[in-house]
């Protein structure tokens, strides 16, 4: 058996595996294995709170993961844990069902973990408010999700991902590219902590 046939055999094995494991792995309760009870997040494994997230936003992110425009960078370890899951949801045609499932979750206010200067953050938040709203309530027409009552550590990670280009580098994803430009205007990690500390005061 040469390499190519080994690969073919392995690929065939995987295809069979995908079929017979389907019943097992399409179980949507897997969402809460990582994202915690009622999808309220688990910082220990870097799985953000998804409860209370807007369905349109979840869809856009699941599509981005499935398309490989998100979660494929080697620098985005946590994102890649989601990426193949989104591919499987899409392949199984149950992305919408998953989103509806998340909609059944009982959202709880997350525990604040980020310590920053909320007063300074308030000044910096002006740049965010234009799209995400003065109260972090989000604006679907601008493709801007709500920021209030999200996992704060996750907001910090994503701001850093945007700033470094791990996220928002795909030219076909205009809202993310726009977000990247804004994240780059936050000059350092302290500024990121400050603005997230302010977001923590929004409800």
């Amino acid at each position: 058996m040469n390499w190519r046939s080994v690969r073919a055999a392995v690929a065939l094995g995987l295809a069979l595996a995908t079929l017979s494991a389907a019943a097992e792995s399409l179980d949507l309760t897997y969402c809460i294995t990582c994202h915690g009870a009622d999808g309220n997040g688990n910082p220990a494994i870097r799985a953000p709170k998804i409860a209370g997230m807007e369905p349109w936003y979840i869809k856009r992110q699941l599509d981005a993961f499935a398309a490989g425009t998100r979660g494929v960078s080697p620098a985005d370890t946590a994102g890649h844990e989601m990426q193949p899951v989104a591919v499987r949801l899409k392949e199984a045609g149950i992305t919408d069902r998953a989103i509806a499932f998340v909609g059944t979750f009982d959202a709880k206010a997350p525990v604040a973990t980020v310590t920053g200067d909320a007063t300074r953050g308030k000044t910096l938040y002006v740049a965010c408010a234009a799209c995400h709203g003065a109260k972090g309530e989000g604006n679907a027409s601008l493709s801007a999700p709500a920021l209030a009552e999200r996992s704060d550590w996750y907001l910090v990670t994503q701001l850093k991902n945007y700033a470094s280009g791990v996220r928002g580098s795909d030219p076909t994803d205009a809202p993310s590219a726009q977000m990247r430009a804004v994240a780059q205007s936050l000059t350092d990690n302290a500024a990121i902590d400050d603005v997230v500390a302010y977001i923590n005061t929004l409800h």
């Binding site: 040469n2 080994v6 392995v10 995987l14 494994i45």
Partner: protein, 526 residues
């Protein structure tokens, strides 16, 4: 850096995977464990027939099964809730048709149906001093067979030495020892020896050095039979191999691994259950299987006065169970996502201990080609990502065998493989194995990969404790909150070993027994 194993990485590995003696000694120094050699199986007082205490155990890993077995046979009413489709936790043996429930990349094992064609994806070896586990093997009828761990005939391969050409483990060990012994003999002077060393001791020391490196009468290393002969003709004079260049050998990261097989937990005599490590799980399940509910995912844990309430989901159905005691072997990093009313000074610990990211590959080989290379069992080491190739100790001289094609210890290597699709992982493991065994690819029939930190309902390998974390968190996490106890190898000084898991259960159930005897003596059978 050319080697995947740093000194720090090695020390971590020794702590987490290998002989935890060093870690254990450090713990002794910190006063965390009593200086008693061995904790026996606790002698739990049997409860009377009228009303047993109700115990819910979260997770059917080895610690959960141990606690269930010990408590249920002493009259406790036990229920185990297991989130996944199977019992055993990380004790997992893969055979034909088995599901590998990895988040995003589910696989099915395609090995031939054959009693020798299996892969121990989690624990794979039992040292002779793991008396609690061995005791259960005996009691539960789990048949054991010797496991070959250290094999001097196996290969060592590193791109940093000899242009990447593999050499025999015995050559590396013997020739480097010869080199070091010769250096030492040259530099040792009698006048350097201080009391209590005497002149006679000096001579004895030189003898030790000569013996250590097998030096000749003039304290020169000129090769040794320990490194193997050039030919094995047996009817003509035997010729020693020429010593290899020590400079090249010293450049290899293998210096950090060469003593692996000498660690307390890695040296002979090692054993494995006949037919796969999960025979241990099967042994426990024969006793307590009726108490286990699978696909039962814990939603919340609420500690209350005199008990614990657990809400769990089977499918969409949410159910609540009220127990007198709750033992949890859910990995801490998952427990952090379960709704609870634990005090923050306790639950904050769940997010503090990093989860292990160990990764393994198993390859079914159509022919046991390694046996033609005089390798029977044991480990070849490489400084490539795959790090190790293990040859099965069982099924010797049969046609096929399942080889361990990768076993990584570092987070980086684990992540690198985990980012790939399962077929890509197998392809990389084959390409790297090729450097150790030319023609390797031609033997591979199929393979499985296990990324422990992506396995559903586990999402991590052994907890990666370190000294500051032991000191800050261990006692707190080991101690109960009300009637809730955290168990599992994660709450032992032997993470990554079943023996640690069993002892964590012993620790918790001994405490429960003590409390029951004091608080409700009327329940104890007279």
């Amino acid at each position: 850096m050319t080697t995947p194993v740093s000194r720090r990485g090695f020390l971590h590995m020794v702590g987490a995977m290998g002989g935890s003696t060093a870690v254990y000694q450090a713990a002794l120094g910190m006063g965390l464990v009593p200086a008693v050699a061995k904790a026996d199986r606790p002698d739990i007082a049997a409860l009377g027939p009228r009303r047993g205490k109700k115990v819910v155990i979260l997770g059917a890993g080895i610690s959960g099964l141990t606690a269930a077995y010990e408590l249920s046979r002493k009259g406790y009413q036990v229920q185990i809730l297991e989130a996944s489709h199977r019992a055993g936790g990380r004790n997992m043996t893969l055979r034909s048709g088995d599901i590998i429930d990895e988040s995003g990349y589910p696989q099915v094992c395609r090995f031939d149906k054959d009693p020798d064609l299996y892969f121990n994806a989690g624990p794979a070896r039992i040292p002779g001093h793991h008396t609690a586990l061995l005791g259960y093997c005996k009691e539960l009828g789990v048949q054991l067979t010797p496991f070959i761990n250290d094999n001097r005939n196996a290969w060592v391969q590193d791109d940093a030495m000899f242009g990447g050409k593999p050499i025999r483990n015995r050559e590396y060990i013997t020739d480097t020892r010869g080199f070091v012994a010769e250096l030492l003999a040259k530099s040792l002077k009698p006048e350097q020896m201080l009391a209590p060393f005497t002149r006679a001791d000096y001579t004895q020391l030189l003898d030790y050095v000569r013996q250590f490196g097998e030096l000749d009468a003039t304290f020169k290393y000129r090769g040794s039979a320990r490194a193997g002969y050039m030919t094995h003709d047996y009817t003509s004079p035997e010729k020693l191999k020429q010593p290899m260049d020590p400079v090249e050998m010293m450049r290899s990261g293998f210096v950090n691994l060469m003593s692996f097989g000498e660690a307390e937990d890695q040296s002979a005599m090692m054993m494995e259950p006949v037919g796969g490590m999960d025979r241990v799980v099967a042994g426990f399940m024969a006793k307590v299987g009726s108490l286990v509910k699978t696909h039962a995912q814990v939603h919340s844990i609420k500690v209350r006065d005199g008990g614990v309430d657990v809400t769990w989901k089977q499918g969409e159905k949410l159910q609540t169970l009220q127990a007198d005691y709750c033992l949890t072997c859910i990995p801490m990093h998952l427990l952090a996502g379960v709704e609870n009313n634990f005090p923050r000074e306790y639950s904050d610990g769940f997010t503090q201990v990093p989860r292990g990211k160990l990764f393994k590959i198993g390859l079914q080989m159509k022919e046991r080609f390694w046996e033609r290379e005089a390798i029977y069992g044991g480990i070849s080491w490489t400084m490539q990502d795959i790090m190790q190739i293990w040859y099965p100790s069982h099924g010797i001289h049969r046609q096929k065998g399942v080889v361990l094609g990768a076993y990584t210890f570092s987070d980086d290597a684990g992540e690198k493989f985990s980012r790939m699709t399962p077929p890509e992982r197998i392809k990389l493991a084959i390409a790297q194995g090729e450097k150790i065994h030319p023609g390797y690819a031609s033997y591979v029939e199929n393979g499985v990969s296990i990324s422990w930190h992506r396995m559903n309902h586990m999402l991590g390998c052994a907890a990666q404790w370190s000294e500051p974390l032991w000191e800050r968190w261990f006692k707190r996490l080991q101690a109960p909150v009300g009637n809730h106890y955290l168990i599992g190898d994660q709450v032992s000084f032997h993470p990554g070993w079943q023996e640690g898991a069993i002892h964590s259960a012993f620790h918790a159930i001994a405490d429960i027994d003590k409390r029951v005897r004091v608080e409700t003596p009327q329940l104890v059978a007279s």
